[in-house]
Symmetry: D3
Subunit: 223 residues, 6 copies
């Protein structure tokens, strides 16, 4: 409680960028179906895909003080990930904080709580994935921590982990597995491109994936 870790390791920029190109569904699959946040985490506006190293923030309920502290720890391309110590939907974040993060090149915010000024955030192009949209203000009374391990929306996040977020939700790639996850993601994309071609040509998944025998063995009856 009450710690700011100033130096965190970030993965190589080209790996982060690659994961961002692949997107949440592919990356989640490519790393063994792990790291996904709960489905209540939704983008405040559609059509954006981002990726970047996590700067983690642990905050008290109804208290956004530590987000101000976290700003200073951010670098170009980072993504701020905020989790309250108990469930809270208050509006921790709005347009002014977004301006401050944009001034440092931060790519977006992921927060298991509420945000406000959402029309302004859309207009200035600062993407946010949150649990709620709620104007309720917060205080600055209780300290928390920056760049410690947190659990956000059911997923473990360590500082420097790669966050990938798009219209499907938010996925966390552990720092040490980012390279492998990218390789697997690319391989998965290649396989899917093959399958896509065959499906567009009218072939059935039943045949492409050779499922008919297994279904019969399980006892499926056609009547």
């Amino acid at each position: 409680m009450g710690i700011v870790i100033q130096n965190i390791e970030r993965p190589a920029a080209e790996i982060v960028a690659g994961l961002g190109q692949c997107g949440v569904a592919t990356v989640h699959e490519a790393q063994g179906r792990s790291g996904l946040m709960r489905p209540f985490m939704r983008p405040i506006y559609a059509g954006v895909r981002i990726a970047g190293p996590a700067v983690t923030v642990s905050v008290a309920p109804g208290d956004n003080w530590m987000i101000h502290v976290a700003v200073e720890q951010c670098r170009e391309g980072d993504i701020v990930v905020v989790a309250p110590t108990s469930p809270c939907e208050d509006g921790y974040f709005g347009e002014l904080l977004a301006r401050s993060l944009q001034a440092r090149g931060v790519g977006g915010l992921v927060i298991e709580a509420g945000v406000r000024d959402v029309r302004d955030l859309a207009e200035i192009g600062f993407p946010v994935w949150s649990k709620a949209i709620f104007a309720q203000g917060t205080v600055k009374e209780t300290i928390g921590s920056v760049n410690v391990p947190i659990v956000c929306a059911g997923a473990s996040v360590n500082p420097g982990d790669v966050i990938v977020a798009d219209d499907d939700g938010v996925c966390v790639v552990p720092h040490g597995k980012a390279e492998e996850a990218l390789k697997n993601s690319r391989a998965r994309e290649a396989r899917e491109a093959e399958v896509r071609k065959r499906l567009l040509a009218g072939e059935l998944g039943l045949d492409i994936y050779d499922m008919r025998g297994k279904l019969a063995a399980k006892g499926l009856k056609y009547v």
Copy 2:
């Protein structure tokens, strides 16, 4: 458990199309306010209205195998309706399955669970009404059934029932009542057109529907 019914009766195409023109709110009213799915069933993108005969799919939680089986049973204009045997928000469906259904002319998907690749689905124009958007992958281990009676989001659905879906939600019209529902829907539209004209002219519903006497009889006081 483990049955695929291959031949189902579908209502006449012009009745289905007519119901699609009327939309969910009108059709639901016209058949005595029945058949509506729960309000948590939301379109993944706005502005679409579809109608078509249901191909029903009963699936295990976290297992989308039977959707692959269902593809083969679909014809031009059908709508696939999926219900898990217990509550589940996993991402049963994504862009590849949508391609496969589009190749067969399927009009859309209704699923009391999650879907993923939602940006792709919007781009290729495959409409989905779901309980959640969630990238979580599923397995192919447990068989279920295709074209058996199911309960989806609180509504009974039999194969061949007409599904109507738009921005207001999803409504089920039993096959045998489709013609009558269309007739009643058209009559309702005509009545509403009359009322609309009078409302636009500034008349009050209180007078159009002759409510003042009934309100007084119930004891309403103006002060």
Copy 3:
């Protein structure tokens, strides 16, 4: 139960308009962080900001009769605020009632329940903040009251209170505090404009708000 108050006091139009320019987040802050409705109250389409005096309606679950009664009590610029006496998500309101309210110049609807015909409502430009989108029809059997004090989505609303609503949600400004709330809102906007300039120039909130000493005093450690 069963009362319609016909004469309510409304705040001056320029105060209402001013509050509308400031928006929900600012007004909520400017009146001491009170009056906000719960975050489940969402606009049916994005990008609108409205303000107006409340015409309040207390309705039975699944019964929209009193909304018809309320129409007659509305004036140009009013906002109708509806709360059921017990939780209900039925579709109390659709396009026809919207036409009727538009004919009287009503600015929008706030309802702790469901609405339908949402595509039509977007097309004719009638904004609604609701708990749900649900086509389920309602009856006209049980009387309620118009322009009595209600609790809507957790907020107390008296007739004539100013309702401010935008993409951040809905805020209630008590009639007697509207002028002060506007003054405070304007002052807050001025302060924020100052801060915005400095943040865009790269200054940190930590320094602008002079937080470093207080954080150290609370025991925050940088490592």
Copy 4:
């Protein structure tokens, strides 16, 4: 809408009684894992297990009129099953209605809504499974139906189907499958008694069910 079916077929009393001895978890398994209501259906007091033929009631939200109508249709041992046409938690049922049902020998109530007077219901020993406990009163204005097919808490219920309810929830056995379900339930109980003996003796499920080979084949690694 607005129909009371007066003659329904009920399964043989000894089959109903047998299913009641087996309980929800066993019966649900024995009929292929179907017929279970959603887990939000909870008993208002613990420790009771009942079974009986369903008298079904479809009611409007906030309106308990049809429960009064249903009383007359009940016989010794029946279970009343109530579903509102849209989600509602109002208190449809209390001590007086329970007295009336007890006077006719009814075994209990299953309702996808709220009940009240729960302390009295416990004292007079009238078991209820409900979605909520809520004192909110209801009206008697809108008719519904008795002994028509309904969907209650996600399960299809036809009049005369066997309802089994205990601390694990509520399960529906279709009338025509009651005998087979009982036979399968008894067989399952016998198998479980065997397994129980071996488990109490310290044997592992891994060995009793011969799982080790299958786990290895799936790739499970011990480290």
Copy 5:
């Protein structure tokens, strides 16, 4: 914000006691079905019925400082009613605060948030109705108010209003209407005693309430 009202008017003790004897369901009905809190407010242990004047407390999320302030304002028989300014389930209250309130003769706590030490609270016999049971601790950093009007679980509460709470939930009787509510409650109990006798004798509500004609007029069909 930040006010403690020290002198509040309390209703006569015998009226409060009378309402407590009648209980939540009866009192709620007797005052026109108003004043009921949402059904998520549940007792932490069953079998208690209390009534007393409300000492209201408005608290910040995750901050129980003002409950300590409120203790001093309590008198024998009061009930403390706590509402956070935004939704929060933290454990604001435990055994030590209960001891302090018991030392002043307070009858119980109603809180739209969480409590902890629930086994201890049951053992010392201090009844609580809450939204959650949650051990999460709170801070003492932000002031709120005591004995101001609040909204708790959807109900308006003014200091001195009578709170009635039992296994059915929590009901608020406005101070000025307490006497009338008691009179109506007693009358209702008398009427119900009459009906109970007839129901126990086997008469039907259909006949006692003379419903058959009205049902036929609405179009109910027996088949």
Copy 6:
């Protein structure tokens, strides 16, 4: 995916026992208010307090195979902690598995999903904290892992961490911090015993904790 760690470190038995005596609320406070699971984790019967080292289990939705695998890894006094890879309320666990765990001396189960046979579990005295009670059966098709790090109900759990559970919920004490947490818990109990004495004597928390000056400094007004 698909790993069973067979040797885990467990904390000393007397430390575990000590933490169990202190209980969830005290331990959670004593370790800096961390490690608490979400408030939806409730005991299936009241009045039990347990503590023990965690054997962690990661399972697929609707698939309890790995719980059978986990049994073999359990020792006297362990607590099994189960988290599905996506949200699921199915009944993963019942009386037979409880018998098997009891035969090995396991102290209880913590599961972010459903359980069944709850009356039997109460009768044989096997305590469970779960998200739901649900009879829905599960399959044995997909492997998971035993004794890997998991997130359960929002809390990080590593194998060998101490689980403390009682009527207030479930708390996780990291293995390496168990001794310090116990020391702090004992100190906290001693401090609370002091305060309790003074409260019972009628002193106010306002004075015991010396709050009056701080409240005045924050601007609290008594009127």
